[in-house]
């Protein structure tokens, strides 16, 4: 979008929205500037701390230009405080859902079955108690290692997934979709491997007993025998019986070549199990997604910022990250329904999540989750 410099010369600040940032040039009144249309928090000047940015990473104090940015947007921006959001978050308009429905998942419980969590993470630790955690992996599989709920994975996979679903967003950025939800952390893997599929079922069972509404499993296994699949399916059916709980499971990741396969637990046949694929931010199925007829719902899965091993957001790609995002959105919906109706139905919510999702013009009736539409339908 274009903005025009007002009646005073305007400094171009290089690199950051700061009055101390280097300025190598200033613009005469009437000069046009092409900016990216986003608002940036910066140094306050004359009581206004909103800045604009161009494609070359130059910043312009918004008070020095004429622009067409709606006042509501400016107010919302100022209300959002200093927190940084990321493209996947913006694309889903989660912020709109929060503000329009005053819902941040407070009445929902989300279980993350993964590699544990990083206890040093300030956006997770305050909301997780030892009673809400459980380790399912067996010491005999990891001789010499102490098995705790602490996330020891090289990538901090469990921490990433947990933060996407329910980080409280106390830090300078927004990661968690349902920041007020209760988190349950089940450790079914030490390092991203899954030595025993039973850990998943044990984790689901534990989560349900802990009153989880939503379970997020960013794991998939492809080499199960038919007998094993049948056995696990039966166990799952038993565990899930008469429980209103939604399980979100990764459809699986392809390599450079996108593959078609049915991975588990995403492919279990159950009304309350949702296979989640990864979508791109421009509304396509991400190539990383393993294609499966069992996978209808997709959520952003390319370059998703979440907490990395160093405790700051960094992007990663995979259906692993689509899954807790979808689970977090479900948690918002569950909490909203509980608040609104006092109860909720897993099957109904699953149906609405799919029916309100945006259809992708691809074979197989694939869809991309749409939280705004979902909340309209609740």
């Amino acid at each position: 979008m274009k903005v025009i410099v007002k009646d005073k010369y305007l400094n171009i600040r290089a690199g950051s929205p700061s009055l101390n940032a280097p300025s190598y040039q200033y613009l005469a009144p009437g000069s046009q500037i092409e900016v990216d249309g986003k608002l940036y928090k910066g140094d306050p000047y004359d009581g206004n701390d909103v800045w604009l940015k161009d494609g070359a990473d130059n910043y312009y104090w918004i008070g020095g230009v004429q622009h067409d940015i709606p006042t509501a947007d400016l107010l919302e921006f100022k209300a959002a405080g200093q927190k940084q959001t990321f493209p996947w978050f913006d694309s889903l308009k989660i912020g709109d859902v929060w503000s329009q429905h005053t819902e941040r998942g407070a009445r929902a419980t989300v279980a993350i079955l993964d590699t544990g969590y990083n206890s040093a993470n300030r956006d997770l630790t305050p909301k997780i108690t030892s009673a809400n955690t459980k380790v399912f992996i067996k010491p005999e599989v990891y001789p010499g290692l102490t098995l705790t709920i602490e996330d020891k994975d090289r990538q901090k996979h469990g921490t990433r997934c947990a933060s996407l679903a329910g980080a409280i967003n106390n830090d300078k950025w927004i990661i968690g979709v349902a920041p007020e939800c209760k988190l349950l952390i089940g450790k079914i893997s030490y390092d991203g491997t899954l030595p025993d599929f039973q850990y998943i079922l044990d984790g689901i069972d534990w989560a349900i007993k802990q009153k989880a509404d939503v379970i997020s499993i960013s794991y998939y296994v492809g080499n199960l025998s038919a007998a094993k699949i049948n056995d696990f399916q039966q166990q799952l059916n038993t565990i899930m019986a008469n429980n209103d709980v939604l399980i979100f499971a990764s459809s699986g990741n392809s390599g450079t070549t996108q593959i078609t396969a049915d991975y588990y637990p995403a492919s279990f046949v159950h009304n309350n199990v949702i296979s989640v694929g990864a979508s791109t931010l421009n509304g396509q199925i991400a190539p990383v997604t393993v294609l499966s007829s069992k996978t209808i719902l997709h959520a952003p899965g390319e370059n998703i910022e979440s907490y990395n091993p160093q405790g700051v957001p960094s992007p990663e790609t995979g259906t692993s990250f689509s899954t807790p995002i979808a689970a977090g959105i479900a948690a918002l919906a569950v909490s909203y329904l509980k608040r609104k109706n006092g109860s909720w139905s897993a099957a109904t919510l699953k149906a609405k999540m799919i029916s309100t999702a945006d259809t992708i013009n691809t074979p197989g009736n694939k869809k991309i989750i749409n939280p705004v539409n979902l909340f309209k339908a609740l």
């Binding site: 993964d114 590699t115 990891y142 290692l145 020891k152 994975d153 090289r154 990538q155 996979h157 990433r160 893997s189 030490y190 390092d191 991203g192 491997t193 899954l194 960013s218 794991y219 998939y220 296994v221 492809g222 080499n223 990764s250 459809s251 699986g252 990741n253 392809s254 390599g255 450079t256 070549t257 593959i259 990383v288 393993v290 990663e316 790609t317 995979g318 259906t319 692993s320 990250f321 899954t323």
Partner: protein, 706 residues
């Protein structure tokens, strides 16, 4: 011929962007997935693509199973069940660079100005040589054509054309080698000596590198694919050098740079490679994948024709001790920075529109060859097997030829071109079946008509002696019953070829000198050098019979004692010119020679004049700074000085001679300080002289066997 080099380097880099990355990156990828506490590498479907050139697994479970069976990475791998992305992008792109403005640095070599007097006799000899040797016609087609027309033109007018022909022929001489060896007479040579083909291919490869048809990594691959390495008649040493190249190629390709991050490099930067060497896990994964690749390529080393060992097995034997390999890799990797820096420099220069120098290309090529040699050194340290490494020298020498051309050192160019053949000859001489050919029963007991010739041509150490083609034909007709005769003929043909190049040398150097000469006096010097080059005083010390036109310049001690005249002084300058004859039995190689010298004229007094003119002493003892400049005419009668000497040519190839003899005359005598000349009557003088040996040209010469 270099102007397309950069274009093609960039083209190759672009092509590489579509190719799979090397083992370094694959190992690096796996290393990044290594979890320190579990000591496991967790991989997902990304890995299927990442190493599909090494493992054709359909599922990730199958791949993990295969990787866990690799002896270097036993049980290191596990299936990643988490849906996080183990990102490893193969995608890449490269911007096109404009390379249309490269100048052809070699196009302006030809000089326009050339005036000289040429000696008809020399050119006639040259012409005769070109006509008698089909090899010459092939190697120097333009020169041959020019020489054949020589009598139709006056030499001065012909000179520019000759020089152009010389230049064109010299530039292309190594390209023509193939054609020389396709002469029917060399059939046996090619059949029995695959090394010859290898050498020729080596030279061609360097040309490819020079003209930008390949980068060092690709040259290495091409080198390793020579069919001659697997020729049934190839020796174990030759096969092993082929296998060594296979290993070197494997290693080279294992560290190919990712052009998305290192667009200006061919290999992964040394700094990153250092990371591999310093990380035990990384190194183990890397060697494991190299091992896998070696298994697939089945590179075989031979201890004997029927005893071989796979490189992968040799590698496997080092499974628990990677120190030796690590050390070798370290040396190899150190070299990559040199090549990378040069390539980067070339590309940077292009980007900034700086002029590329031939040195850029030369250094690029030379460092590349060094890399090949270094890779060879690794294997050599690693396996103790017979190897033949002369090919690298040949490749390097060919690059020198390139440098000689662009630095306009044409004489050196010719010497280097001849060196290539020396290398070929040396390579062949090392073959064991040739070493002991003459002691084989089929040769020693040979009773055929040409038995003496057969024994002679079967001796690899014997000097070349021409044999009539009809005799060779007779010997060849009997090869069906005596296979060693083929080897003997091949040996003869090789010697014949080398002899051709020896005989060619003076003409070749003359051509080179002529092309390199830019001033008339340089052209004159080239001609004089060709007539009898410096250092040819040693000819008479290595001859079976030598007759030459000859001069000496030195000091004499005579039986006279009249200081008034230089001729009659006790000491003085002597400069006789005449005919010298050295018989074989008086030619003692490094011990010197004894010649009979008949002088016709003596320029002693003139030389005396020349030598003294800057230091004439006045009668009052002061130095006379005025040089003598009197117009002084010499008549034949004043220098005619017939005489005879016995001359000893000094040992150790010193160009000094000690002569004893007598001569008559001359009438010419001394020039005084006051520029007055003093004539003296001719008379006989007996003297001993110590002089520099200056042969002018050989009238007849037959070289002695070495």
């Amino acid at each position: 011929m270099k102007k397309y080099l950069l274009t093609l380097i960039i083209l190759i880099l672009s092509i590489e962007s579509y190719a799979q990355k090397g083992i370094f990156y694959q190992a690096s990828y796996f290393r990044s997935l290594y979890q320190e506490d579990t000591k496991k590498i967790t991989i997902d479907n990304q890995a299927l693509d990442a190493v599909k050139n090494l493992y054709a697994a359909a599922t990730i479970e199958g791949l993990v199973d295969s990787l866990n069976k690799n002896p270097f990475t036993v049980n290191m791998f596990a299936v990643q069940a988490a849906g996080g992305n183990n990102s490893f992008s193969f995608s890449s792109a490269i911007g096109g660079l404009d390379v249309t403005n490269l100048a052809n640095g070699l196009s302006d070599f030809l000089i326009k100005r050339a005036k000289q007097e040429l000696t008809l006799a020399f050119f006639n000899r040259f012409k005769k040589f070109s006509e008698e040797n089909p090899e010459f016609k092939i190697l120097f087609p333009k020169t041959t054509a020019n020489l054949s027309n020589l009598l139709d033109y006056a030499y001065p007018q012909m000179l520019p054309a000759l020089r152009t022909g010389f230049l064109e022929d010299l530039k292309n001489v190594t390209y023509k080698l193939d054609d020389v060896l396709n002469l029917p007479r060399y059939n046996e040579l090619l059949k029995n000596l695959p090394e010859i083909k290898v050498c020729l291919r080596s030279i061609k490869l360097v040309h490819q590198l020079e003209s930008g048809l390949a980068n060092p990594a690709e040259v290495l691959r091409e080198f390793s694919l020579f069919p001659e390495w697997h020729d049934p008649s190839a020796t174990v040493a030759v096969k092993n050098i082929g296998s060594t190249l296979g290993v070197a190629t494997l290693l080279s390709e294992s560290i190919k740079a990712d052009i998305t991050s290192h667009a200006d490099s061919i290999w992964v930067p040394a700094k990153e490679l250092r990371r591999l060497l310093d990380d035990e896990v990384f190194l183990k994964i890397y060697v494991g994948l190299v091992y896998r690749k070696a298994q697939m390529e089945k590179i075989e080393f031979f201890a004997a024709p029927d005893k071989s060992r796979l490189f992968s097995d040799i590698l496997l034997a080092q499974k628990d001790n990677l120190l030796t390999l690590r050390s070798g890799l370290s040396d190899l990797f150190d070299l990559t920075s040199g090549v990378n820096a040069l390539v980067s420099d070339i590309i940077t220069k292009k980007r900034t529109n700086a002029v590329l120098t031939n040195d850029d290309y030369y250094n690029y090529i030379n460092t590349s060859i060094d890399f090949i040699g270094k890779a060879n050194a690794i294997v050599k340290n690693y396996v103790s097997l017979p190897l033949d490494e002369d090919y690298f020298d040949i490749a390097k020498k060919s690059n020198e030829i390139y440098k000689d051309v662009y630095t306009r050192k044409y004489a050196q160019l010719f010497s280097d071109a001849l060196d290539v053949f020396d290398h070929i000859s040396n390579t062949i001489d090392k073959r064991p079946e040739y070493q002991d050919l003459m002691t084989k029963a089929s040769i020693t007991d040979y009773k055929g008509k040409e038995k003496n010739t057969v024994r002679n041509i079967a001796d690899v150490k014997a000097e070349y002696t021409p044999v009539k083609e009809s005799v060779i034909d007779t010997i060849l007709s009997e090869t069906a019953t005596n296979a060693n005769l083929k080897l003997a003929v091949a040996n003869y043909r090789l010697k014949q070829l080398v002899n051709f190049f020896k005989e060619l040398k003076p003409y070749g150097l003359f051509m080179a000198d002529m092309v390199g000469a830019e001033k008339p006096e340089e052209v004159q010097a080239a001609l004089e050098n060709a007539v009898l080059p410096v250092g040819s005083s040693s000819v008479k010390k290595n001859t079976n019979s030598n007759l030459s036109v000859q001069a000496y310049l030195g000091a004499y001690l005579s039986n006279k004692n009249n200081s008034f005249s230089s001729w009659t002084s006790k000491f003085g300058v002597i400069a006789p010119i005449g005919i010298s004859y050295t018989p074989g039995f008086l030619s003692w190689k490094s011990a010197g020679s004894l010649s009979f010298f008949g002088s016709l004229i003596d320029l002693g007094a003139i030389v005396d004049y020349k030598l003294k003119k800057d230091s004439t002493i006045s009668s009052n003892g002061s130095v006379n700074t005025n040089t003598v400049s009197k117009d002084y005419k010499i008549k034949l009668g004043q220098i005619f000085s017939p005489g005879a000497f016995v001359v000893y040519g000094f040992f150790g190839n010193l160009p000094l001679s000690l002569g004893v003899g007598g001569q008559y005359g001359p009438g010419l005598s001394k020039i005084n300080v006051d520029n007055t000349t003093v004539l003296n009557n001719p008379s006989w003088r007996w003297s001993v002289f110590l002089a520099v040996d200056i042969p002018f040209f050989n009238l007849h010469n037959k070289m002695k066997s070495k």
